[in-house]
Amino acid sequence: MPVTTINGREIHVDDEGFLTEYDEWDEDLAKVLAANINVDLTDEHWTAIKFAREDYKSQGETPTIRRMASVGGVDTKKMFQLFPKKPAKKMSYIAGVPKPHGCV
């Protein structure tokens, strides 16, 4: 697995750049990750990111767009506004969790 330097720290990532170590993530790092992909973080982004992290921790899987709406309380339209075009992947990247595994 590659190690990359983000925000002056060594971070373990996969070949695409997604974090592979859950505990290497913190909010300051998330801000840098968001900036890397041109996302300006708002309170609504944090709601989604924090839910994704908690859900990953408890379920062992990153929530899909469907689960973000039905359990996380962030509806699908909002997800597309917050993380344009590729909401699940962009959210996962910023939240430091893997891309969702499920199809829906």
Partner: protein
Amino acid sequence: MTTETHAPIVPNFDDDETDRKIAFICSKGNLDMAYPALVLANAALGEGIETHLFFTFWGFDMITKSRMHDLKFSPVGNTAMHMPVGDIRIPQALAPLPGMQPMATKMIKDQIAALGVPEVPEFLDQIVASGGHLWACRMSADMNKLVEEDLYEGVEAIINASDFIEMTDGAQLLFI
């Protein structure tokens, strides 16, 4: 193996790549044949791809308000239908018996629900919320004597075959 690199690795989300377009022709009204297009359209939308679904012939049931909540699955003619337990095929001679269709429909619905995948109407809601475009076939509407009011509200319009061909210029097409 660990490789060290100092340049940050940032995923390429292809934000500039906006020209990919995909269209699904949904021609079947059986429950199991409703899902492939819905799953793939949803995935395409999640990748930022312009996505259209065109409902025609039996696929019209997927968007007809009075029918879309109650699509059925039949084991008749489907040799890949197995018993819930064990790897036993349901004999085709038994497939048309009374009770088989409701049982098979319930089974498939339960399996889909267990994965957290929504039922057809709710799935269409998600596709529309994700920016997907739904179109109804003019000929099918006329054959079934249905008008826009009879159709799921997310359907943008009833369009004819030429409109669809024009609209999907440059799109990848999938007939289901």
